[in-house]
Symmetry: C3
Subunit: 281 residues, 3 copies
Amino acid sequence: MSYQTIKVDTRDGLCVVTQDRPERLNARSSQMYAEMIAAFEAADADAEVCALLLASSGDAFCSGMDFKNEYQHAYTVLPEDSEHVAAIKAEFPADDPMTAVVGLAKRFVQAFIRFEKPLIAAVNGAAVGEGFSSILHCDLVYATPNAYFWAPFARAGAAPEFCATVLAPRRLGPTLANAALYFGRKIDVHEAHGAGFVLEILERENFLDEVEKRLQEGLALAGPPELRASTLRSFRALVYSDEERERLYLQADREFDLVQQRVRSGETDLVRQYYASQLPS
Amino acid sequence: MSYQTIKVDTRDGLCVVTQDRPERLNARSSQMYAEMIAAFEAADADAEVCALLLASSGDAFCSGMDFKNEYQHAYTVLPEDSEHVAAIKAEFPADDPMTAVVGLAKRFVQAFIRFEKPLIAAVNGAAVGEGFSSILHCDLVYATPNAYFWAPFARAGAAPEFCATVLAPRRLGPTLANAALYFGRKIDVHEAHGAGFVLEILERENFLDEVEKRLQEGLALAGPPELRASTLRSFRALVYSDEERERLYLQADREFDLVQQRVRSGETDLVRQYYASQLPS
Amino acid sequence: MSYQTIKVDTRDGLCVVTQDRPERLNARSSQMYAEMIAAFEAADADAEVCALLLASSGDAFCSGMDFKNEYQHAYTVLPEDSEHVAAIKAEFPADDPMTAVVGLAKRFVQAFIRFEKPLIAAVNGAAVGEGFSSILHCDLVYATPNAYFWAPFARAGAAPEFCATVLAPRRLGPTLANAALYFGRKIDVHEAHGAGFVLEILERENFLDEVEKRLQEGLALAGPPELRASTLRSFRALVYSDEERERLYLQADREFDLVQQRVRSGETDLVRQYYASQLPS
């Protein structure tokens, strides 16, 4: 399977999805949304895959949604697109751009919520905006000493998304989550580790190798290789129920409603003008 | 607006409510209940106010409910009372003192639950009894090195209140909460910080200035000043839903039921006699 | 009351149940299940008992279910059995061994869920398998420096049990819980303390004395001795509701369903053969 914005490689039962736009600090374009959805769905369906590791090229994990998003890519099938990616794009006709943009974004969040196998993040640097909030859906988070987590939703004229309004309190504790959600507090990796969100801080050198080594040690405890994927999926289904998924889909919708309301009312523009006007002229 | 037991000052969108009975270690009298309810309601309704910071005069945060409570103040309008405070008192006619006392106390808890903007506590010393349990409702908690949290409900012949039975496990983790609720464990500020309840420990000197500085830095990320209050309120409504409020009102009622049951059955008196008899004569 | 596999001693309102099969690292046999159920029920019914402390003989806390389980003991009344233990055994007729084994195990989990007074674990060493997951039901956990928590359910061809799939995330935080549940991560005592699960790490020398001292200090704050048991029970009923118990019974059933499904489908045997084949011949 070939993609334009990500790399996907499965080794010994572990599917590594690498966000691969280092020149944009791995900001997520619409093309990347469509490709990541496809990669998550393929990994979930692949009986060889026991778990998915989300990683990144370069020195940042993900700088959020790409504001220089090339919308047409989301709706125009590129010659390089796989059938799977093309089919995802076809779900969002470009007639009504706002509906299409929001539809694809929701679909992207749902890909995280719906995923049925252990989901691990290897955070190699800045995790900003949805680069942070999306990994609240990951079962395990490993990070390098230079990693940090920052989502100043209000400053962007947006609103907390990716279910951060329910997942951040669970993953970071309510106090730190409130500071992040309401006051745009940047969380450094040590604070995130102390809060229990980051499992382990690992050196940048050989970071991904060290993460994979730990995951392979874990997979080696999950029985013979052919039983591992189904075993881990059945364990995770007990922790993460379908009722919980329903609640998260609903919460994601509520969050998107607020974002859309802010955009449509003109608030988002007012916020951006306000901060633009503060720049030295 | 002038109050007898608190000071209220709004600066740059931040409403600072200072508990101001330092000679009683800021123990809360009925008068203080009525005035704090009024101040919370006024801050919530004031479009200029983005967040409320609860602070204290002197070297203690709050030593709990004032057992030397001057009940008549709750039901008798004082010449100095504002119309708002007078109206709150009028809700609780003094014909049936027990009903009035419990009614005002419930109303006070509800003022914390109902509040719709970010609520921050600046804990400058001992937080005892409801001085502790009430700040479980605060989104952020800052504290000085001499602060501690202690609520030996059983020793007072009372019961956990202010929704501590559901909020303490969330804010402190179940283990520490159980130790505090069942075994009257005193929690020092470092333990509370380690548990994620206290966001930051700040020196006593310039404590409030440092807290305000951090909050102002946060508010500066919330868009142009005129949008900040509504933006933060809309974010908080996603984190803290009306369904959750309904659950907390109900839990507060259950807790008050137990307290009243203990008082009415005579248990409370037995407990107080027991500890009084242990004092050196 | 005399037991074969545990010791029970009530002193000053504290019932100490000591798991006493040190030669098997306190692995739990069916006999031990029946006896612990009886001890928990007796402590709950005894008006003198304010709280139950679960402790262990030797250098391990509990190595899990005893795979060398002597099943007949669960269903055959021994001459030494008390009436209470005999009655519990009689609930599980030996006609259908699988049903009886699962029935007794469920009954054992339910004894933890149903217990109405504060439940404390004194973890003096390894807590493995259900030796770990069972203490997720304990309100407080004290531990020695050599203690650790490990439950590689998948490696045993089993599945997470004892409500670990909902309680581990609450007690350890989601990240650490996921690592333990999916990847068989061993959690050392310092990590468990940092996560808030272990309240205090105490030296091995005089460990139980130190734990009891702390609990007695707590009980001394709960009013006159004759009111302590009912007071603590009423506080705990506010924290731990019957609705919550119903959810936990249901979750325990779901977990047992998965274990049984794995056993019946032959997966459990495949897993054991796989690991047996890896041993040096």
